[in-house]
């Protein structure tokens, strides 16, 4: 017994190393396969507030540019509004709409790692919940992952765990949008069948299969495509519309019917 205790005492540093390594490996591996860690993420009070302070300073450097971007978007929205067939009054009735939109600021951006998470300055007190869609004026950005009182983290499309339903614009051929972690300007669209006629430059938009995003939100254009190893599906490289390195204002999308869809799907699966 004495010998065992002596052995442990003599190698206490190695044991401490082993112990701490085990702790961190457990934290890493547990969240590696599926979700971001629920307890250790940047939506927490301290991290969120430090990022907020940093962002408050750096926001000033891009105000003019950001303003221009928002004006351009307003212009585009006005054009859509004036050319619409239904009357505007109908849309003001908020009980009839399916999607709720909320603005937010990005306080931490990240695009260099294989699993990128972003932090925004809206949280539970603004009724943000998990699995809300996040877009910018130009296109899709990600999905809300963890929410704290004042902040939330977003799983970016630039995340190897991300998997979003997407389709080729004006057709009904849909596939999954994934990322191979190589270039932050390019994501991959897989599972598009071989019979689909493709052209470089075609627009890719979100599909109707997801209860997170509305249909037809722009994602990017086809940069290049080839057949996968089984020769029956395409692997498509999609160049994103968003400049992922330069994002400030984002919109959160809440599908009011999501809960109902989820419940229905759960019941169907049970039977």
């Amino acid at each position: 017994m004495q010998r065992i205790i002596n052995f442990i005492l003599n190698n206490r540093n190695a044991f401490l190393y082993g112990f701490l390594l085990l702790v961190s490996l457990v934290i890493t591996v547990r969240s590696h396969s599926y979700h971001q860690s629920k307890f250790f993420n940047s939506s927490k009070w301290l991290t969120g507030n430090i990022y907020q302070t940093g962002a408050n300073v750096s926001f000033y450097f891009g105000l003019r540019e950001e303003n221009q971007r928002l004006v351009n978007e307003n212009e585009q929205l006005r054009r859509m509004l004036f050319n619409m067939e239904t009357s505007g009054a109908l849309l003001l009735d908020t009980t009839a709409i399916d999607f709720e939109v909320m603005s937010a600021n990005l306080i931490k951006n990240s695009f260099a790692s294989p699993r990128n998470y972003l932090t925004i300055d809206r949280g539970r007190k603004d009724s943000v919940v998990q699995d809300m869609g996040v877009i910018t004026t130009k296109g899709i950005l990600g999905i809300v992952e963890n929410v704290s009182k004042n902040f939330a983290t977003v799983q970016s499309v630039l995340n190897t765990k991300s998997n979003i339903n997407a389709k080729i614009k004006n057709t009904n051929f849909f596939g999954s949008l994934i990322w191979n972690a190589e270039d932050y300007k390019v994501v991959q669209l897989v599972d598009i069948p071989r019979l689909v006629p493709l052209v470089v430059g075609d627009t890719i938009v979100t599909g109707a299969m997801s209860s997170i995003f509305p249909e037809n939100i722009p994602i990017g254009v086809i940069k290049k495509y080839d057949l996968n190893t089984s020769k029956s599906f395409y692997n498509i490289d999609v160049e994103l519309f968003n400049d992922m390195a330069n994002i400030k204002n984002v919109y959160l999308i809440m599908n009011k019917n999501r809960q109902e869809i989820k419940t229905l799907e759960a019941i169907t699966l049970d039977e």
Partner: protein
């Protein structure tokens, strides 16, 4: 003794803030974000309790992990550096390192840069191997280790000469 502890706490906090607010968003050549907090392992006193050193290193890595949403990758890499530092030091500074009155003052510049380079290399190799965690991406790992490692090393050498204690 007390002032050393205080100094290291201040360094700890400042390095965390510098890392998460400045260097994590640097985006040099699109995606190079140097991990300058590695310099902490160069500045940390050589004599002292190794257990406390490892706990500090773990904490430093883990706080940066929480900020950058990287699970516990920084923690593992820092912890490994803290554990391996005596070996790297013996390799770089030879038997001198064993003596009681050893300090960085009586080492050459080349020795110190070698030491930093080895620390950065080990840290980045551990970090990116675990981050990507796939043997089919060995080339991507190597590319990241070397491109980011070189930038980190440049920053560390600059910092070590900028903020070195006054020479006697």
């Amino acid at each position: 003794m007390n002032s050393t502890v205080l100094l290291n706490i201040v360094r700890f906090v400042l390095l965390v803030l510098a890392q998460v607010l400045i260097f994590n968003t640097l985006g040099f050549l699109d995606s190079i974000n140097p991990m300058v907090y590695v310099i902490f392992f160069y500045w940390y006193p050589i004599k002292g309790n190794r257990a406390i050193f490892m706990l500090t290193a773990f904490l430093l890595g883990f706080i940066i992990d929480i900020f950058s949403d990287t699970l516990a990758l920084h923690a593992i890499a820092s912890l490994t550096i803290a554990y391996a530092r005596p070996v790297i030091m013996r390799f770089c500074f030879g038997v001198n390192y064993e003596f009681q009155n050893f300090s960085f003052k009586n080492t050459t510049k080349v020795q110190r840069v070698t030491f930093l380079a080895l620390v950065v290399l080990l840290h980045h190799t551990v970090f990116f191997s675990l981050e990507i965690l796939s043997f089919s991406h060995v080339l991507l790992i190597l590319k990241k280790v070397f491109s980011i490692g070189i930038v980190t090393l440049v920053f560390c050498v600059l910092f070590s000469s900028l903020f070195s204690p006054a020479r006697e």
